[in-house]
């Protein structure tokens, strides 16, 4: 078989690849033999998998569809009563595939035309429109004619929208997150001053999840460094300062 020197990312998807293979086999779309096309397609995908780490899942779905079509052709038809056939609706058929290929090809051809059109339009340069606002009279006439309900409604909804935008902007400002090191220092200072404390009483306000996690990790680090010892106390943790660690204070703070 001919060596494949085409990379899969040169194709726009499984249909594009199929069209390429059909073109290479010099077949009419309407006359494709499913079994031949399937072999070619699967061989192509296999080769690609050897060289590339991943072939997009769409290509694999198409391979599965083709194999299903092929096996259906190879197996003798099972005689079933019409009524017994469950209507899956999605069952792939050769005709369905051909129709899909024909439609895709039509768009692919339209793309060629559009590309030419785009290229020739891109050769025509224009310039941004002149900003004429400085010539406009700067007096905005306040409207003092009659206003109806929908004018008010319009103005109101504009205002609400503006307000929402401003609020949204506020929400995007993220709270400063505490780093593990900061929290270790803070916890260490707290415990060395107090002697003992409990995990939850350490927080001045209601902690959020990331606070809890960072603080808990800081506690684990301090335990590892033998700065504190802990004891489970119902649902809280009793944290006690280890006196002998005082000499190593600086090392901890630097951490």
């Amino acid at each position: 078989m001919e060596a494949y020197n085409v990379k899969i990312d040169t194709f726009e998807g499984p249909l594009d690849l199929l069209l390429h293979l059909i073109g290479k086999m010099e077949l009419d779309i309407a006359d494709i033999s499913v079994s031949e096309v399937t072999d070619q397609y699967v061989a192509f995908i296999r080769t690609m998998q050897k060289f590339e780490l991943d072939v997009a899942s769409e290509y694999l779905v198409m391979a599965a569809t083709l194999l299903q079509l092929k096996s259906k052709q190879l197996l003798p038809p099972v005689p079933v009563e019409e009524d017994d056939i469950p209507d899956f609706g999605e069952e792939p058929t050769r005709e369905g595939l051909i129709r899909q290929l024909i439609e895709y090809k039509a768009y692919k051809e339209a793309v060629v035309f559009m590309r030419e059109q785009e290229e020739s339009r891109l050769e025509l340069y224009s310039r941004p429109g002149e900003d004429l606002t400085r010539y406009m009279s700067d007096l905005v006439q306040p409207y003092d004619g009659p206003l109806n309900f929908s004018d008010l409604l319009h103005a109101y909804s504009k205002m609400v929208e503006r307000k929402r935008w401003k609020e949204r902007r506020k929400k995007t400002i993220k709270r400063e997150e505490r780093t593990l090191e900061e929290q270790m220092t803070r916890l260490h200072e707290h415990v060395s001053a107090e002697g003992t404390t409990s995990f939850f009483s350490f927080f001045e306000e209601r902690p959020d999840v990331s606070d809890l996690v960072v603080t808990f990790m800081a506690l684990l680090e301090l335990i590892k460094l033998r700065v504190v010892t802990t004891k489970q106390e119902e649902r809280d943790i009793q944290i006690s300062f280890v006196e002998s660690s005082k000499e190593r204070n600086e090392a901890v703070v630097v951490l």
Partner: protein, 197 residues
């Protein structure tokens, strides 16, 4: 009162000022206080005089507005000056998706994915941000999927005046109809289509 300046000259100055935004015939006619037909006539006169004078400008009608642009002959030099192609052509994926939307609009993402056989979520995002497509409400089917359609900027990007200028799609089975007459065998698709109808 007939102005001392020719309409042609005034139109040229207006089109110069509005630049790429262009001007509708109606706006030109209103500004000059002449009929739309007269404005069109002046526009074509201007077009001819540009051509005859050998100046590097031409008029195009794109997305419903007239605008002043350079002639393609000078594009090589403009590109050389700019360095690269100033306005980038679309990627293949973007182009395919855009063409499907153009022909099938208003269309849902799932419809596009069915034709292309790949996911198009990111491409749609790109097209939206480039202003080539816009959302067109929601489908009335189950799930009420978002619908997309092309914009005026789409027309201008390709130099179309309206969507009617898109050439009809050619489907291979329609082309092979003639062949079927000779071979007497209707293709599987034709048969299928007949059955469906």
């Amino acid at each position: 009162m007939k102005p001392l300046l020719s309409y042609e000259t005034i139109i040229e100055s207006l089109l110069f000022v509005v630049g790429e935004e262009g001007m509708e015939v109606r706006a030109l006619a209103d500004t000059l206080d002449i009929s739309e037909a007269a404005a069109r006539e002046q526009l074509s006169k201007l077009e001819v005089s540009f051509k005859d004078s050998g100046r590097p400008f031409q008029l195009i009608e794109s997305a419903g507005v007239y605008k002043l642009v350079t002639v393609p002959e000078v594009s090589e030099y403009i590109q050389r000056y700019v360095g690269t192609m100033a306005e980038q052509a679309l990627s293949r994926a973007a182009m395919e998706t855009l063409v499907i939307i153009a022909y099938k609009q208003p269309v849902t993402r799932a419809d596009i994915e069915e034709v292309r056989g790949v996911k198009v979520e990111r491409v749609i995002h790109t097209l939206l941000s480039k202003g080539l497509i816009e959302s067109a409400g929601r489908a009335k089917t189950i799930g009420r999927a978002k619908l997309y359609q092309t914009t005026e900027h789409f027309l201008d990007h390709f130099g179309f005046n309206s969507l009617d200028e898109l050439p009809p799609l050619t489907f291979e089975d329609e082309l092979s109809d003639e062949g079927d007459l000779f071979f007497g065998q209707p293709s599987a698709i034709m048969q299928d289509r007949l059955e469906n109808e």
